[in-house]
Protein backbone atom coordinates (compact mmCIF):
# COMPACT_ATOMS: atom_id res chain seq x y z
CA UNK A 1 0.00 0.00 0.00
CA UNK A 2 1.82 3.15 -1.16
CA UNK A 3 2.35 6.15 1.03
CA UNK A 4 0.10 9.09 1.63
CA UNK A 5 2.34 11.33 -0.45
CA UNK A 6 1.90 9.06 -3.43
CA UNK A 7 -1.85 9.23 -3.02
CA UNK A 8 -1.85 13.04 -2.82
CA UNK A 9 0.33 13.37 -5.88
CA UNK A 10 -1.84 10.89 -7.73
CA UNK A 11 -4.99 12.78 -6.74
CA UNK A 12 -3.64 16.09 -8.03
CA UNK A 13 -2.17 14.64 -11.21
CA UNK A 14 -5.18 12.47 -11.99
CA UNK A 15 -7.65 15.30 -11.39
CA UNK A 16 -5.80 17.73 -13.58
CA UNK A 17 -5.05 15.11 -16.22
CA UNK A 18 -8.61 13.87 -16.35
CA UNK A 19 -9.85 17.43 -16.62
CA UNK A 20 -7.60 18.06 -19.60
CA UNK A 21 -8.55 14.74 -21.17
CA UNK A 22 -12.20 15.48 -20.50
CA UNK A 23 -12.03 18.89 -22.14
CA UNK A 24 -10.39 17.31 -25.15
CA UNK A 25 -13.09 14.64 -25.27
CA UNK A 26 -15.76 17.34 -25.05
CA UNK A 27 -14.19 19.06 -28.03
CA UNK A 28 -14.14 15.76 -29.94
CA UNK A 29 -17.81 15.36 -29.15
CA UNK A 30 -18.73 18.83 -30.42
CA UNK A 31 -16.54 18.53 -33.51
CA UNK A 32 -17.93 15.13 -34.48
CA UNK A 33 -21.46 16.40 -33.90
CA UNK A 34 -20.77 19.38 -36.14
CA UNK A 35 -19.26 17.22 -38.87
CA UNK A 36 -22.18 14.81 -38.77
CA UNK A 37 -24.45 17.81 -39.29
CA UNK A 38 -22.30 19.10 -42.20
CA UNK A 39 -21.05 22.03 -40.14
CA UNK A 40 -17.55 23.18 -39.30
CA UNK A 41 -17.67 23.11 -35.52
CA UNK A 42 -15.67 24.92 -32.83
CA UNK A 43 -11.87 25.13 -32.62
CA UNK A 44 -9.89 22.84 -30.33
CA UNK A 45 -9.60 25.29 -27.45
CA UNK A 46 -13.35 25.88 -27.24
CA UNK A 47 -14.07 24.05 -23.93
CA UNK A 48 -11.15 25.85 -22.30
CA UNK A 49 -12.51 29.19 -23.54
CA UNK A 50 -15.94 28.28 -22.15
CA UNK A 51 -14.50 27.63 -18.69
CA UNK A 52 -12.32 30.75 -18.71
CA UNK A 53 -15.29 32.86 -19.71
CA UNK A 54 -17.54 31.36 -17.06
CA UNK A 55 -14.95 31.96 -14.37
CA UNK A 56 -14.91 35.63 -15.32
CA UNK A 57 -18.63 36.26 -14.94
CA UNK A 58 -20.41 37.29 -11.80
CA UNK A 59 -22.16 34.81 -9.54
CA UNK A 60 -25.85 35.47 -9.10
CA UNK A 61 -27.62 33.74 -6.25
CA UNK A 62 -31.43 33.89 -6.40
CA UNK A 63 -33.28 35.23 -3.42
CA UNK A 64 -35.18 32.03 -2.78
CA UNK A 65 -32.18 29.75 -3.15
CA UNK A 66 -31.63 27.24 -0.37
CA UNK A 67 -28.50 26.23 1.43
CA UNK A 68 -27.22 23.65 -1.03
CA UNK A 69 -27.14 26.00 -4.00
CA UNK A 70 -23.47 26.96 -3.82
CA UNK A 71 -22.40 23.75 -2.10
CA UNK A 72 -23.59 21.42 -4.84
CA UNK A 73 -21.10 22.27 -7.61
CA UNK A 74 -18.13 22.14 -5.22
CA UNK A 75 -19.05 18.72 -3.83
CA UNK A 76 -19.79 17.39 -7.32
CA UNK A 77 -16.41 18.52 -8.60
CA UNK A 78 -14.60 17.05 -5.60
CA UNK A 79 -16.35 13.70 -5.93
CA UNK A 80 -15.57 13.51 -9.63
CA UNK A 81 -11.89 14.23 -8.91
CA UNK A 82 -11.76 11.48 -6.26
CA UNK A 83 -13.36 8.96 -8.59
CA UNK A 84 -10.99 9.88 -11.42
CA UNK A 85 -7.92 9.56 -9.22
CA UNK A 86 -9.01 6.14 -7.91
CA UNK A 87 -9.61 4.85 -11.43
CA UNK A 88 -6.26 6.01 -12.74
CA UNK A 89 -4.47 4.84 -9.61
CA UNK A 90 -5.84 1.33 -10.08
CA UNK A 91 -4.60 1.35 -13.65
CA UNK A 92 -1.19 2.81 -13.00
CA UNK A 93 -0.39 0.82 -9.91
CA UNK A 94 -2.69 -2.15 -9.33
CA UNK A 95 -0.99 -2.83 -5.99
CA UNK A 96 -2.37 0.44 -4.68
CA UNK A 97 -5.72 -0.86 -3.64
CA UNK A 98 -7.89 -1.37 -0.67
CA UNK A 99 -10.79 -3.73 -0.32
CA UNK A 100 -13.96 -2.17 -1.51
CA UNK A 101 -12.56 0.58 -3.67
CA UNK A 102 -14.95 -0.38 -6.47
CA UNK A 103 -17.76 0.60 -4.15
CA UNK A 104 -16.02 3.88 -3.37
CA UNK A 105 -15.64 4.62 -7.07
CA UNK A 106 -19.29 3.83 -7.76
CA UNK A 107 -20.34 5.98 -4.86
CA UNK A 108 -18.19 8.90 -5.96
CA UNK A 109 -19.49 8.59 -9.49
CA UNK A 110 -23.06 8.78 -8.21
CA UNK A 111 -22.44 11.92 -6.18
CA UNK A 112 -22.43 14.39 -9.12
CA UNK A 113 -25.95 13.27 -10.08
CA UNK A 114 -27.03 13.66 -6.47
CA UNK A 115 -25.49 17.12 -6.39
CA UNK A 116 -27.34 18.08 -9.55
CA UNK A 117 -30.54 17.07 -7.78
CA UNK A 118 -29.53 19.04 -4.70
CA UNK A 119 -28.59 22.10 -6.70
CA UNK A 120 -31.74 21.97 -8.74
CA UNK A 121 -33.94 21.60 -5.69
CA UNK A 122 -32.15 24.41 -3.91
CA UNK A 123 -32.61 26.83 -6.77
CA UNK A 124 -36.09 27.98 -5.91
CA UNK A 125 -37.23 27.76 -9.50
CA UNK A 126 -40.00 25.50 -10.86
CA UNK A 127 -37.98 24.62 -13.98
CA UNK A 128 -35.10 23.54 -11.76
CA UNK A 129 -37.45 21.48 -9.58
CA UNK A 130 -38.82 19.66 -12.60
CA UNK A 131 -35.28 19.02 -13.83
CA UNK A 132 -34.23 17.74 -10.41
CA UNK A 133 -37.16 15.33 -10.24
CA UNK A 134 -36.35 14.04 -13.73
CA UNK A 135 -32.73 13.52 -12.75
CA UNK A 136 -33.91 11.61 -9.67
CA UNK A 137 -36.05 9.27 -11.75
CA UNK A 138 -33.23 8.78 -14.23
CA UNK A 139 -30.80 8.01 -11.41
CA UNK A 140 -33.12 5.33 -10.07
CA UNK A 141 -33.41 3.92 -13.55
CA UNK A 142 -29.80 3.59 -14.68
CA UNK A 143 -28.00 2.79 -11.43
CA UNK A 144 -29.58 -0.64 -11.19
CA UNK A 145 -28.30 -2.23 -14.43
CA UNK A 146 -24.94 -0.57 -13.97
CA UNK A 147 -24.44 -2.04 -10.54
CA UNK A 148 -25.73 -5.44 -11.66
CA UNK A 149 -23.24 -5.66 -14.51
CA UNK A 150 -20.37 -4.51 -12.32
CA UNK A 151 -21.34 -7.07 -9.67
CA UNK A 152 -21.19 -9.74 -12.35
CA UNK A 153 -17.59 -8.84 -13.06
CA UNK A 154 -16.76 -8.54 -9.38
CA UNK A 155 -18.06 -12.05 -8.79
CA UNK A 156 -16.32 -13.52 -11.77
CA UNK A 157 -12.91 -11.86 -11.69
CA UNK A 158 -10.01 -14.14 -10.73
CA UNK A 159 -12.39 -16.99 -10.20
CA UNK A 160 -13.41 -15.64 -6.81
CA UNK A 161 -15.25 -12.58 -5.64
CA UNK A 162 -13.08 -9.54 -5.24
CA UNK A 163 -14.02 -6.02 -4.43
CA UNK A 164 -10.97 -4.06 -5.46
CA UNK A 165 -10.58 -2.28 -8.70
CA UNK A 166 -6.91 -3.00 -8.99
CA UNK A 167 -7.50 -6.74 -8.77
CA UNK A 168 -10.24 -6.60 -11.38
CA UNK A 169 -8.08 -4.60 -13.69
CA UNK A 170 -5.08 -6.82 -13.20
CA UNK A 171 -7.05 -9.95 -13.76
CA UNK A 172 -8.09 -8.86 -17.21
CA UNK A 173 -5.00 -7.07 -18.33
CA UNK A 174 -3.58 -8.15 -21.59
CA UNK A 175 -6.80 -9.82 -22.61
CA UNK A 176 -7.98 -8.75 -26.02
CA UNK A 177 -11.08 -10.90 -26.25
CA UNK A 178 -12.99 -10.77 -23.00
CA UNK A 179 -15.64 -13.25 -21.96
CA UNK A 180 -19.35 -13.12 -22.64
CA UNK A 181 -20.17 -11.55 -19.32
CA UNK A 182 -17.70 -8.79 -20.01
CA UNK A 183 -18.97 -8.07 -23.51
CA UNK A 184 -22.62 -7.94 -22.50
CA UNK A 185 -21.71 -6.02 -19.39
CA UNK A 186 -19.80 -3.52 -21.53
CA UNK A 187 -22.81 -2.89 -23.72
CA UNK A 188 -25.10 -2.47 -20.71
CA UNK A 189 -22.60 -0.17 -19.06
CA UNK A 190 -22.28 2.05 -22.13
CA UNK A 191 -26.03 2.70 -22.07
CA UNK A 192 -25.86 3.44 -18.36
CA UNK A 193 -23.01 5.91 -18.64
CA UNK A 194 -24.75 7.62 -21.55
CA UNK A 195 -27.53 8.35 -19.09
CA UNK A 196 -25.15 9.27 -16.31
CA UNK A 197 -23.40 11.75 -18.56
CA UNK A 198 -26.67 13.35 -19.50
CA UNK A 199 -26.13 12.78 -23.22
CA UNK A 200 -28.85 12.31 -25.79
CA UNK A 201 -30.93 10.10 -25.92
CA UNK A 202 -31.03 10.35 -22.13
CA UNK A 203 -30.47 14.07 -21.54
CA UNK A 204 -33.92 14.29 -20.03
CA UNK A 205 -32.86 16.26 -16.99
CA UNK A 206 -31.17 19.03 -18.89
CA UNK A 207 -33.53 19.25 -21.80
CA UNK A 208 -32.77 22.65 -23.22
CA UNK A 209 -35.78 23.06 -25.42
CA UNK A 210 -38.24 21.80 -22.84
CA UNK A 211 -37.39 23.03 -19.40
CA UNK A 212 -34.71 25.67 -19.96
CA UNK A 213 -31.65 23.76 -18.77
CA UNK A 214 -33.49 22.11 -15.90
CA UNK A 215 -31.44 22.08 -12.72
CA UNK A 216 -28.82 24.49 -14.09
CA UNK A 217 -31.22 27.29 -14.90
CA UNK A 218 -30.24 29.53 -11.98
CA UNK A 219 -26.49 28.92 -12.07
CA UNK A 220 -24.10 31.48 -13.52
CA UNK A 221 -20.39 32.24 -13.45
CA UNK A 222 -17.97 30.13 -11.37
CA UNK A 223 -20.56 27.62 -10.00
CA UNK A 224 -21.61 26.89 -13.55
CA UNK A 225 -17.94 26.53 -14.48
CA UNK A 226 -17.56 23.93 -11.70
CA UNK A 227 -20.51 21.95 -13.05
CA UNK A 228 -19.06 22.20 -16.56
CA UNK A 229 -15.70 20.90 -15.32
CA UNK A 230 -17.46 18.11 -13.41
CA UNK A 231 -19.15 17.00 -16.58
CA UNK A 232 -15.84 17.14 -18.43
CA UNK A 233 -14.13 14.99 -15.81
CA UNK A 234 -17.00 12.51 -15.93
CA UNK A 235 -16.77 12.43 -19.72
CA UNK A 236 -13.19 11.18 -19.36
CA UNK A 237 -13.52 9.12 -16.19
CA UNK A 238 -16.61 7.13 -17.06
CA UNK A 239 -15.30 5.56 -20.29
CA UNK A 240 -12.02 4.86 -18.50
CA UNK A 241 -13.95 3.18 -15.69
CA UNK A 242 -15.91 1.07 -18.13
CA UNK A 243 -12.73 0.05 -19.95
CA UNK A 244 -11.05 -0.79 -16.64
CA UNK A 245 -13.85 -2.97 -15.36
CA UNK A 246 -15.07 -4.70 -18.50
CA UNK A 247 -12.36 -4.55 -21.07
CA UNK A 248 -8.99 -5.10 -19.50
CA UNK A 249 -7.99 -1.64 -18.46
CA UNK A 250 -4.82 0.16 -19.39
CA UNK A 251 -2.45 -2.74 -19.09
CA UNK A 252 1.16 -2.98 -18.07
CA UNK A 253 3.74 -1.79 -20.52
CA UNK A 254 3.50 0.40 -23.58
CA UNK A 255 1.38 -1.96 -25.69
CA UNK A 256 -1.07 -2.31 -22.86
CA UNK A 257 -1.43 1.45 -22.57
CA UNK A 258 -1.74 1.91 -26.33
CA UNK A 259 -4.43 -0.76 -26.50
CA UNK A 260 -6.14 0.82 -23.53
CA UNK A 261 -6.24 4.21 -25.20
CA UNK A 262 -7.71 2.65 -28.31
CA UNK A 263 -10.40 0.95 -26.23
CA UNK A 264 -11.14 4.24 -24.47
CA UNK A 265 -11.49 6.02 -27.81
CA UNK A 266 -13.77 3.27 -29.07
CA UNK A 267 -16.12 3.75 -26.12
CA UNK A 268 -16.07 7.52 -26.59
CA UNK A 269 -16.84 7.17 -30.29
CA UNK A 270 -19.79 4.90 -29.53
CA UNK A 271 -21.13 7.44 -27.06
CA UNK A 272 -20.75 10.34 -29.47
CA UNK A 273 -22.36 8.48 -32.36
CA UNK A 274 -25.24 7.42 -30.12
CA UNK A 275 -25.65 11.05 -29.20
CA UNK A 276 -25.82 12.23 -32.78
CA UNK A 277 -28.22 9.74 -34.20
CA UNK A 278 -30.98 9.55 -31.62
CA UNK A 279 -33.76 11.83 -30.44
CA UNK A 280 -34.40 12.46 -26.79
CA UNK A 281 -36.61 9.84 -25.11
CA UNK A 282 -39.36 10.49 -22.57
CA UNK A 283 -38.66 9.79 -18.93
CA UNK A 284 -41.13 6.91 -18.72
CA UNK A 285 -39.66 5.31 -21.83
CA UNK A 286 -36.21 5.64 -20.30
CA UNK A 287 -37.31 4.03 -17.07
CA UNK A 288 -38.99 1.16 -18.90
CA UNK A 289 -35.88 0.67 -21.02
CA UNK A 290 -33.55 0.49 -18.03
CA UNK A 291 -35.76 -1.50 -15.68
CA UNK A 292 -37.40 -3.93 -18.06
CA UNK A 293 -34.79 -4.02 -20.81
CA UNK A 294 -31.33 -3.77 -19.34
CA UNK A 295 -31.95 -5.05 -15.82
CA UNK A 296 -33.02 -8.54 -16.93
CA UNK A 297 -29.89 -8.71 -19.07
CA UNK A 298 -27.86 -7.70 -16.01
CA UNK A 299 -29.50 -10.39 -13.93
CA UNK A 300 -28.74 -12.98 -16.60
CA UNK A 301 -25.05 -12.18 -16.78
CA UNK A 302 -24.86 -12.07 -12.99
CA UNK A 303 -26.36 -15.54 -12.88
CA UNK A 304 -23.90 -16.75 -15.51
CA UNK A 305 -21.00 -15.27 -13.61
CA UNK A 306 -22.12 -16.89 -10.41
CA UNK A 307 -22.55 -20.24 -12.06
CA UNK A 308 -19.07 -19.85 -13.38
CA UNK A 309 -19.65 -20.72 -16.98
CA UNK A 310 -19.14 -17.11 -18.13
CA UNK A 311 -16.39 -16.08 -15.78
CA UNK A 312 -13.66 -13.66 -16.65
CA UNK A 313 -10.75 -15.27 -18.49
CA UNK A 314 -8.02 -15.99 -15.97
CA UNK A 315 -4.55 -14.72 -16.80
CA UNK B 1 -75.47 19.58 -54.54
CA UNK B 2 -77.87 22.46 -54.11
CA UNK B 3 -77.66 25.34 -56.49
CA UNK B 4 -76.16 28.51 -55.06
CA UNK B 5 -79.00 30.79 -56.11
CA UNK B 6 -81.62 28.43 -54.69
CA UNK B 7 -79.89 28.30 -51.34
CA UNK B 8 -79.48 32.06 -51.21
CA UNK B 9 -83.11 32.61 -52.12
CA UNK B 10 -84.22 30.29 -49.32
CA UNK B 11 -81.82 32.03 -46.94
CA UNK B 12 -83.21 35.43 -47.82
CA UNK B 13 -86.73 34.21 -47.31
CA UNK B 14 -86.02 32.55 -43.96
CA UNK B 15 -84.05 35.52 -42.70
CA UNK B 16 -86.50 38.18 -43.82
CA UNK B 17 -88.57 37.85 -40.66
CA UNK B 18 -85.69 38.72 -38.38
CA UNK B 19 -83.27 40.66 -40.52
CA UNK B 20 -83.16 43.86 -42.42
CA UNK B 21 -81.49 44.50 -45.77
CA UNK B 22 -80.23 41.49 -47.72
CA UNK B 23 -77.71 42.74 -50.30
CA UNK B 24 -76.09 40.40 -52.77
CA UNK B 25 -73.15 42.41 -53.85
CA UNK B 26 -71.80 40.00 -56.47
CA UNK B 27 -71.54 36.30 -57.26
CA UNK B 28 -69.73 35.41 -54.08
CA UNK B 29 -70.57 38.03 -51.45
CA UNK B 30 -73.76 38.61 -49.51
CA UNK B 31 -74.31 41.16 -46.73
CA UNK B 32 -77.23 40.93 -44.32
CA UNK B 33 -78.15 43.55 -41.71
CA UNK B 34 -79.54 42.02 -38.52
CA UNK B 35 -80.88 44.10 -35.61
CA UNK B 36 -79.04 43.29 -32.36
CA UNK B 37 -82.01 41.61 -30.67
CA UNK B 38 -82.16 38.96 -33.43
CA UNK B 39 -78.47 38.42 -34.00
CA UNK B 40 -78.17 35.21 -31.98
CA UNK B 41 -81.15 33.67 -33.77
CA UNK B 42 -79.75 34.62 -37.19
CA UNK B 43 -76.33 33.19 -36.35
CA UNK B 44 -77.91 29.98 -35.13
CA UNK B 45 -79.96 29.71 -38.29
CA UNK B 46 -76.95 30.15 -40.56
CA UNK B 47 -74.84 27.66 -38.63
CA UNK B 48 -77.35 24.94 -37.79
CA UNK B 49 -79.93 25.09 -40.54
CA UNK B 50 -77.81 26.08 -43.49
CA UNK B 51 -74.42 24.60 -42.51
CA UNK B 52 -72.32 27.75 -42.78
CA UNK B 53 -68.87 27.84 -41.24
CA UNK B 54 -67.98 30.87 -39.14
CA UNK B 55 -64.68 31.98 -40.66
CA UNK B 56 -64.08 35.03 -38.46
CA UNK B 57 -65.77 38.03 -36.95
CA UNK B 58 -64.70 41.64 -37.25
CA UNK B 59 -65.58 44.88 -35.51
CA UNK B 60 -66.06 48.34 -36.92
CA UNK B 61 -66.37 51.73 -35.31
CA UNK B 62 -68.76 54.13 -37.08
CA UNK B 63 -69.89 57.49 -35.88
CA UNK B 64 -72.73 56.47 -33.59
CA UNK B 65 -72.53 52.73 -33.26
CA UNK B 66 -70.04 49.87 -33.18
CA UNK B 67 -70.78 47.12 -35.67
CA UNK B 68 -69.89 43.44 -35.42
CA UNK B 69 -69.72 41.45 -38.64
CA UNK B 70 -69.85 37.66 -38.69
CA UNK B 71 -68.47 36.10 -41.87
CA UNK B 72 -69.87 32.69 -42.82
CA UNK B 73 -68.27 30.59 -45.55
CA UNK B 74 -70.31 28.14 -47.56
CA UNK B 75 -67.42 26.22 -49.05
CA UNK B 76 -69.44 23.92 -51.29
CA UNK B 77 -71.35 26.85 -52.81
CA UNK B 78 -68.36 29.20 -53.07
CA UNK B 79 -70.12 32.11 -51.35
CA UNK B 80 -69.46 34.16 -48.18
CA UNK B 81 -72.40 35.55 -46.23
CA UNK B 82 -71.74 38.36 -43.77
CA UNK B 83 -74.17 39.10 -40.94
CA UNK B 84 -73.91 42.65 -39.65
CA UNK B 85 -75.20 43.54 -36.23
CA UNK B 86 -74.47 46.57 -34.07
CA UNK B 87 -74.50 48.14 -30.63
CA UNK B 88 -75.30 51.78 -30.14
CA UNK B 89 -72.80 54.02 -28.39
CA UNK B 90 -72.07 55.15 -25.69
CA UNK B 91 -72.39 51.65 -24.16
CA UNK B 92 -72.58 49.22 -27.06
CA UNK B 93 -73.78 45.70 -26.23
CA UNK B 94 -74.36 42.65 -28.40
CA UNK B 95 -75.35 39.06 -27.69
CA UNK B 96 -72.40 36.73 -27.60
CA UNK B 97 -72.15 33.71 -29.92
CA UNK B 98 -69.41 32.08 -27.83
CA UNK B 99 -71.84 29.45 -26.54
CA UNK B 100 -72.49 28.45 -30.13
CA UNK B 101 -68.87 28.63 -31.36
CA UNK B 102 -66.06 28.00 -28.88
CA UNK B 103 -63.74 29.60 -31.39
CA UNK B 104 -65.53 32.93 -31.10
CA UNK B 105 -64.53 33.21 -27.45
CA UNK B 106 -61.17 34.86 -28.09
CA UNK B 107 -62.48 36.91 -31.03
CA UNK B 108 -65.12 38.54 -28.85
CA UNK B 109 -62.67 39.13 -26.02
CA UNK B 110 -60.34 40.90 -28.44
CA UNK B 111 -63.19 43.05 -29.76
CA UNK B 112 -64.13 43.99 -26.23
CA UNK B 113 -60.55 44.86 -25.43
CA UNK B 114 -59.85 47.03 -28.44
CA UNK B 115 -63.26 48.48 -29.36
CA UNK B 116 -65.10 48.45 -26.08
CA UNK B 117 -68.18 46.51 -27.16
CA UNK B 118 -69.67 44.30 -24.46
CA UNK B 119 -70.89 40.80 -25.22
CA UNK B 120 -73.82 39.60 -23.13
CA UNK B 121 -73.59 36.08 -21.68
CA UNK B 122 -69.96 35.68 -22.64
CA UNK B 123 -68.51 32.85 -20.52
CA UNK B 124 -65.19 34.61 -19.88
CA UNK B 125 -65.46 38.39 -20.30
CA UNK B 126 -61.84 39.37 -19.67
CA UNK B 127 -59.57 41.55 -21.76
CA UNK B 128 -57.25 39.67 -24.06
CA UNK B 129 -54.33 41.47 -25.65
CA UNK B 130 -53.75 44.86 -24.08
CA UNK B 131 -51.13 45.07 -21.34
CA UNK B 132 -51.94 44.60 -17.67
CA UNK B 133 -51.34 48.27 -16.89
CA UNK B 134 -53.55 49.60 -19.66
CA UNK B 135 -56.12 52.07 -18.24
CA UNK B 136 -59.78 51.07 -18.16
CA UNK B 137 -62.17 52.63 -20.59
CA UNK B 138 -59.58 53.58 -23.20
CA UNK B 139 -60.14 51.66 -26.42
CA UNK B 140 -57.33 52.11 -28.96
CA UNK B 141 -59.24 51.03 -32.07
CA UNK B 142 -61.99 53.61 -31.70
CA UNK B 143 -61.77 56.53 -34.05
CA UNK B 144 -61.59 59.06 -31.25
CA UNK B 145 -58.47 57.51 -29.73
CA UNK B 146 -55.79 60.22 -29.86
CA UNK B 147 -53.22 59.39 -32.45
CA UNK B 148 -49.64 59.64 -31.35
CA UNK B 149 -47.56 61.96 -33.40
CA UNK B 150 -50.44 63.86 -34.88
CA UNK B 151 -49.88 66.81 -37.15
CA UNK B 152 -46.14 67.00 -36.66
CA UNK B 153 -45.73 63.36 -37.63
CA UNK B 154 -47.86 63.86 -40.71
CA UNK B 155 -45.71 66.80 -41.85
CA UNK B 156 -42.55 64.78 -41.33
CA UNK B 157 -43.92 61.93 -43.36
CA UNK B 158 -44.98 64.24 -46.20
CA UNK B 159 -41.57 65.90 -46.25
CA UNK B 160 -39.85 62.53 -46.34
CA UNK B 161 -42.00 61.21 -49.17
CA UNK B 162 -41.73 64.29 -51.35
CA UNK B 163 -38.03 64.66 -50.68
CA UNK B 164 -38.23 68.28 -49.63
CA UNK B 165 -35.11 68.22 -47.44
CA UNK B 166 -35.66 69.06 -43.80
CA UNK B 167 -39.20 69.19 -42.50
CA UNK B 168 -40.58 72.18 -40.68
CA UNK B 169 -41.49 70.58 -37.38
Amino acid sequence: MPSAVWWIVTFAAASFGTLVLGLFTKWVDRKVTARVQWRVGPPWYQPVADIVKLLGKETLVPEYAGGGFLLAPVVAFAAACVAASLIWAANVNPEARFVGDVIVVLYCLAVPSLMIILGGSASGNPHAAVGASREMKLLLAYELPLILSIVAVIVGAEGKATLSLGAIARSEMGGVLPSIACVVGLIVAIFCIQAKMGLVPFDIAEAETEIMSGPFVEYSGPPLALFYMTKAILFAALPAFVVTVFWGGFGPGATGWALGILKYLAVVVVMVLMRNTNPRVRIDHAMKFFWFGLTPIGIVILALAVIGTASVAAP
Amino acid sequence: MADRDDVLRELEQRLSEISGRFWRRNEKRVYVDVPPENSLAANRMLFEDFGGRLATASGRDTRDRIEVLYHYCFDALNVVVTLRTWGMKPNPEVDSVAQLFPGANFIEREMYDLLGIKFRDHPDPRRLILSDDWPEGVFPYRRDYPKRGGEAARKRLVALLTGTGSSDV
Partner: protein, 143 residues
Protein backbone atom coordinates in the same frame (compact mmCIF):
# COMPACT_ATOMS: atom_id res chain seq x y z
CA UNK C 1 -8.20 41.42 -17.39
CA UNK C 2 -6.79 39.86 -20.50
CA UNK C 3 -7.70 36.23 -19.91
CA UNK C 4 -11.32 36.88 -19.01
CA UNK C 5 -11.74 39.09 -22.05
CA UNK C 6 -10.23 36.42 -24.28
CA UNK C 7 -12.69 33.89 -22.86
CA UNK C 8 -15.60 36.26 -23.46
CA UNK C 9 -14.55 36.88 -27.04
CA UNK C 10 -14.03 33.24 -27.87
CA UNK C 11 -17.13 31.82 -26.28
CA UNK C 12 -20.15 34.14 -26.34
CA UNK C 13 -23.29 32.33 -25.32
CA UNK C 14 -26.44 33.95 -26.67
CA UNK C 15 -29.99 34.08 -25.33
CA UNK C 16 -32.79 35.03 -27.64
CA UNK C 17 -35.70 37.17 -26.43
CA UNK C 18 -38.66 38.26 -28.53
CA UNK C 19 -40.36 41.35 -27.10
CA UNK C 20 -43.04 42.00 -29.64
CA UNK C 21 -41.65 40.97 -33.04
CA UNK C 22 -43.40 39.52 -36.03
CA UNK C 23 -41.07 36.46 -35.79
CA UNK C 24 -39.12 37.19 -38.98
CA UNK C 25 -36.04 38.25 -37.04
CA UNK C 26 -36.40 35.21 -34.82
CA UNK C 27 -36.35 32.93 -37.85
CA UNK C 28 -33.22 34.64 -39.11
CA UNK C 29 -31.53 34.24 -35.75
CA UNK C 30 -32.27 30.53 -35.70
CA UNK C 31 -31.05 30.33 -39.30
CA UNK C 32 -27.64 31.34 -38.03
CA UNK C 33 -27.35 28.00 -36.29
CA UNK C 34 -27.98 25.98 -39.40
CA UNK C 35 -25.11 24.44 -41.36
CA UNK C 36 -25.22 27.20 -43.97
CA UNK C 37 -24.02 29.85 -41.50
CA UNK C 38 -22.94 27.88 -38.42
CA UNK C 39 -22.18 30.31 -35.60
CA UNK C 40 -20.92 27.47 -33.42
CA UNK C 41 -17.52 27.85 -35.06
CA UNK C 42 -17.24 31.17 -33.18
CA UNK C 43 -18.19 29.40 -29.98
CA UNK C 44 -21.70 30.84 -29.96
CA UNK C 45 -24.26 28.54 -28.41
CA UNK C 46 -27.95 29.21 -27.98
CA UNK C 47 -28.55 28.81 -24.25
CA UNK C 48 -31.85 28.33 -22.54
CA UNK C 49 -31.40 30.48 -19.46
CA UNK C 50 -30.58 34.20 -19.29
CA UNK C 51 -28.17 33.48 -16.45
CA UNK C 52 -25.90 31.60 -18.82
CA UNK C 53 -25.93 34.31 -21.49
CA UNK C 54 -23.22 36.71 -22.61
CA UNK C 55 -25.35 38.35 -25.27
CA UNK C 56 -29.08 39.00 -25.30
CA UNK C 57 -30.42 38.90 -28.84
CA UNK C 58 -33.55 41.04 -28.63
CA UNK C 59 -36.00 41.32 -31.51
CA UNK C 60 -39.15 43.35 -31.72
CA UNK C 61 -40.35 46.75 -30.52
CA UNK C 62 -40.71 46.61 -26.80
CA UNK C 63 -44.43 46.50 -26.06
CA UNK C 64 -45.89 47.85 -22.83
CA UNK C 65 -46.47 44.34 -21.53
CA UNK C 66 -42.94 43.21 -22.36
CA UNK C 67 -41.08 46.24 -21.02
CA UNK C 68 -40.81 45.25 -17.32
CA UNK C 69 -40.05 41.70 -18.39
CA UNK C 70 -37.20 42.76 -20.68
CA UNK C 71 -35.75 44.85 -17.88
CA UNK C 72 -36.01 41.88 -15.53
CA UNK C 73 -34.29 39.68 -18.11
CA UNK C 74 -31.41 42.13 -18.37
CA UNK C 75 -31.08 42.23 -14.60
CA UNK C 76 -31.03 38.43 -14.43
CA UNK C 77 -28.28 38.12 -17.01
CA UNK C 78 -24.87 37.72 -15.40
CA UNK C 79 -22.62 40.68 -16.18
CA UNK C 80 -20.78 41.27 -18.48
CA UNK C 81 -23.62 40.89 -20.94
CA UNK C 82 -24.13 42.84 -24.14
CA UNK C 83 -27.48 43.51 -25.76
CA UNK C 84 -27.90 43.10 -29.51
CA UNK C 85 -30.94 44.76 -31.07
CA UNK C 86 -31.84 42.65 -34.09
CA UNK C 87 -33.95 44.20 -36.77
CA UNK C 88 -35.39 47.61 -37.51
CA UNK C 89 -38.08 47.23 -34.86
CA UNK C 90 -35.58 46.73 -32.08
CA UNK C 91 -33.18 49.46 -33.19
CA UNK C 92 -35.80 52.20 -33.45
CA UNK C 93 -39.41 51.17 -33.50
CA UNK C 94 -39.64 51.82 -37.21
CA UNK C 95 -43.11 52.18 -38.63
CA UNK C 96 -44.66 51.13 -35.32
CA UNK C 97 -43.28 54.11 -33.42
CA UNK C 98 -46.70 55.74 -32.98
CA UNK C 99 -48.46 52.51 -32.06
CA UNK C 100 -50.66 52.37 -29.00
CA UNK C 101 -48.65 49.60 -27.41
CA UNK C 102 -45.11 50.72 -28.21
CA UNK C 103 -43.08 51.45 -25.08
CA UNK C 104 -39.84 52.68 -26.46
CA UNK C 105 -37.17 51.04 -28.54
CA UNK C 106 -35.07 48.39 -26.85
CA UNK C 107 -32.08 50.62 -26.10
CA UNK C 108 -34.23 53.14 -24.27
CA UNK C 109 -35.75 50.36 -22.16
CA UNK C 110 -32.38 48.82 -21.31
CA UNK C 111 -30.75 52.14 -20.49
CA UNK C 112 -33.40 52.78 -17.88
CA UNK C 113 -31.96 49.83 -16.00
CA UNK C 114 -28.29 50.26 -16.83
CA UNK C 115 -27.08 53.49 -18.44
CA UNK C 116 -23.75 51.89 -19.25
CA UNK C 117 -25.10 48.89 -21.08
CA UNK C 118 -23.25 47.85 -24.24
CA UNK C 119 -25.83 47.84 -27.02
CA UNK C 120 -25.22 46.68 -30.58
CA UNK C 121 -27.59 47.55 -33.43
CA UNK C 122 -28.20 45.21 -36.36
CA UNK C 123 -30.71 46.91 -38.67
CA UNK C 124 -32.68 45.19 -41.37
CA UNK C 125 -36.15 43.84 -41.84
CA UNK C 126 -35.24 41.12 -41.24
CA UNK C 127 -31.45 41.35 -41.17
CA UNK C 128 -29.80 38.58 -43.10
CA UNK C 129 -27.89 35.99 -41.06
CA UNK C 130 -24.69 37.36 -42.57
CA UNK C 131 -25.57 40.76 -41.09
CA UNK C 132 -26.29 39.26 -37.69
CA UNK C 133 -22.98 37.40 -37.69
CA UNK C 134 -21.14 40.55 -38.84
CA UNK C 135 -22.75 42.53 -36.05
CA UNK C 136 -21.78 39.94 -33.46
CA UNK C 137 -18.20 39.75 -34.70
CA UNK C 138 -17.85 43.55 -34.75
CA UNK C 139 -19.20 43.72 -31.22
CA UNK C 140 -16.73 41.10 -30.01
CA UNK C 141 -13.81 42.80 -31.74
CA UNK C 142 -14.61 46.13 -30.18
CA UNK C 143 -14.81 44.80 -26.63
Amino acid sequence: MGLALWGLKKSPWVYHANVGACNNCDIEIVNCLTPAFDIERFGMVLVASPRHADALLVSGICTRQAKPRLQELYRQAAQPCIVMCIGACACSMGIFADGYHAAGPVDKVIREVDPNAIIVYVPGCPPRPQAIIAGAVKALQSL
